[in-house]
Symmetry: C2
Subunit: 437 residues, 2 copies
């Protein structure tokens, strides 16, 4: 189930794209994440990030450099969206990755290399797009520290619901309002009721927040009525991105009972543009969340020994905030949170197995959010809600400004990295959004 290590993970491997060989690049030849971009007047197309460049997969296919691959893979590489590629299998994805690794490796024959050089563009010159048609977006709630801390704010007697350690709790999100990193986020208006008031009112919301999450893109999926067993669940995940699930806390408190979040969430969700594949993440796998002694063992449909041993993935995450004043005065963005994917109580395989356990069908390109990732300390709070206790204890920025929630022109940037001794570090790039108004 877990992808095996092979030559594409070789820490000694270098690319002829020299920017891919620096320590600081998120995109060494061991990464090769997929995205969709356009350059000047070209149509949007699939690309793969390498160092500070992107390789045009449409033209690479047209140049017959991928002709050893199945026709379906070549056709998928010419698509405007990643869905066609996602709908193939783990085997197809791995083959493509291996081919791209060879093409971008320093040992590539000079003839091929000179063709490929013409198919590269600097990442600074391209515009990224949401990489696939996202049919359905599901947001889980697997960050146990987040669930506990938020629960204690809203339900002091009962912070963690009795179902939490049995079910990977989730709700359906909105796919229409998923936007790509860099899109500005308009402050929503909404209906809210303050505790002091007898009646609600409508207006621009006050408690605008970010949520630090990972996103998992579904690959091949399943037919309606055919659950995916946990042993085969991970083969259905194409890759991982960073995700900011923007939240309007004042709307949430007033609307969420009894059917859960709706307008508090669906005004915008930002995704990072590059999808890091599970093949690339193979060296960074780890055990599932280690449950406390009193915690129940997952029910059989959520349990596999392999998943318990290796179903986690270790990703270091950080969230930086900058205000207009900070940017105007040359002050660096301030890191307000350092988190880790290891704080997720459920694995991606458990997400897939649970989601399909009732026969619900997942389709290629569907997005599964992890839920907000927080650790135990206030420096690892994946949202301002937790960090500032509902805005009550504002945080102080390096220039002395205070923030309870986000204000106009504030910018949030999420970054993610995988680092492990003996392996080349790889990154996810950025998930960036600035509040407009």
């Amino acid at each position: 189930m877990i992808r095996a290590l092979n030559e594409t993970h070789d820490p000694q491997a270098k690319s002829w794209v020299t920017s891919a060989n620096t320590d600081s690049t998120p995109f060494p030849i061991q990464n090769l994440p997929f995205g969709v971009y356009h350059n000047n007047g070209d149509h949007p197309r699939i690309g793969v990030a390498i160092g500070d460049c992107v390789l045009d997969l449409h033209r690479t296919t047209d140049a017959k450099l991928l002709e050893s691959l199945p026709i379906v893979t070549q056709a998928a590489c010419r698509s405007r969206y990643l869905n066609d590629l996602m709908s193939l299998s783990k085997g197809h994805w791995s083959q493509l990755r291996e081919s791209l690794f060879k093409l971008l490796h320093e040992s590539t024959p000079p003839g091929q290399k000179s063709i490929l050089e013409g198919l590269l563009a600097p990442q600074t010159e391209i515009e990224m797009h949401v990489p696939c048609r996202i049919g359905d977006y599901t947001d889980f709630y697997a960050g146990i520290c987040h669930a506990s801390r938020v629960g204690s704010l809203f339900r002091p007697q009962n912070p963690l619901m009795p179902n939490y350690k049995w079910i990977p709790i989730a709700y359906h999100g909105r796919s229409s309002s998923i936007v790509i990193s860099g899109t500005s986020i308009r402050r929503p208006s909404g209906q809210a009721k303050s505790p002091e008031s007898d009646v609600p009112s409508f207006g621009p919301i006050r408690s605008l927040d970010y949520e630090l999450e990972l996103g998992f893109y579904v690959g091949s999926g399943n037919e309606l009525g055919k659950p995916i067993p946990i042993e085969r669940a991970e083969a259905n995940i194409f890759g991982v991105c960073l995700l900011n699930d923007w939240s309007a806390r004042d709307i949430h408190v007033w609307e969420y009972q009894p059917l859960g979040p709706f307008l508090a969430k669906n005004f915008a969700t930002t995704v990072s543009p590059w999808i890091v594949t599970l093949d690339a993440l193979a060296p960074f796998r780890c055990a599932a969340f280690v449950r406390s002694n009193g915690d129940p063992k997952p029910l059989p449909y959520l349990y596999s020994a392999t998943d318990q041993a290796m179903g986690g993935v270790e990703i270091s995450l950080e969230v930086a905030l900058s205000t207009q004043e900070m940017r105007d005065t040359g002050i660096e963005p301030y890191t307000i949170c350092r988190g880790s994917s290891r704080d997720l109580y459920w694995t991606m395989s458990q997400f897939v197995a649970h989601h399909t356990s009732n026969g619900c069908n997942l389709r290629a390109g569907d997005l599964l959010g992890s839920g907000t990732i927080s650790g135990n300390s206030s420096h690892s709070s994946g949202s301002l809600l937790e960090m500032t206790r509902q805005g009550a204890s504002a945080i102080q920025l390096p220039n002395g400004q205070l923030r309870g929630y986000l204000e106009s022109d504030d910018e949030i940037v999420i970054r993610g990295w995988c680092r492990r001794e003996g392996h080349v570090a790889l990154g996810f790039g950025e998930c960036r959004g600035r509040i407009d108004g």
Copy 2:
């Protein structure tokens, strides 16, 4: 905002398709609902129902019978889905309706009529499809009797939440598992915890239920960040269908806190195939739900005088149940519920205005469910949950069988009709589903 009456609503109008002129047809010439179907080896295409036939809009366009219409309308009529047509405007939809009315009217010139006769197929020979790509599916909760009665089962102290009369409560549903009428519904498995047990277990669910709803298809939609004011909301609704929001009650009780329904709902939602346009419904409009004296007036963003006066639509609904034994012994399906859309607390315009009030974008083809429609009596319970008080008081069928919840091979058929003095009655057809396993 409300569509005006015109010649297409003339109760004297007859079609040359004689089956459209009978009292019993849901599809007289005054209706003309749109759907997507295929016939034999043809590709799926858009059709309009007339009597017991369907007219092929692709071929009608090819035959140049719609050439007075804008090119965009003609192109949309050749599409495989209704999204292109939906994405045009109310003006385009009305123009197309008027053209189809003339073509199918008994006064159509014989030359045109003989061409059109070749473009008709009997509805018994075609197969219907989900009529559009449904990007996002939102399910409201506007049936106030349902919300009160269900609330009293789950939260006796607090049946109707304080927000209910202020907010059109809704949650995001799952679009991938929306199926067309006639698709069999597999009984889901799921995790549930009985009150007697300390721990949950996983297996086929026991309390499988239907929910009687209407579905509203979004037309043109809005850009992210640009709310649709209530005065312009209805112009964004393309039409209405019947909807059965199948529900697994035992999963629901265990999973729904704190983020709302998920696996209890997303295993299947059935829609009826024909979309009745708001033009066709113009003679059947009525006032919005009449609020009690103590109820709050809607906040300004949810209030318009026109919507209060005419924003409702009067649709009579019924739900029939048949069991395998009933069908084997020739016993007619038993009508277990008679309901009315007048029991919806919020109007479709309020749905659209609220949904977009935070800037959330609706796209052509998105589906808005009304929420379960129940009346005050047990004969108007839009779900078995209410009718049988969580299965405790089983209903007796004509052959003596008892039903607390749905059992294997049970079939639910929802039908809807608009009837008003001085107008030709029109129907929605059927929303049918049989439990498989």
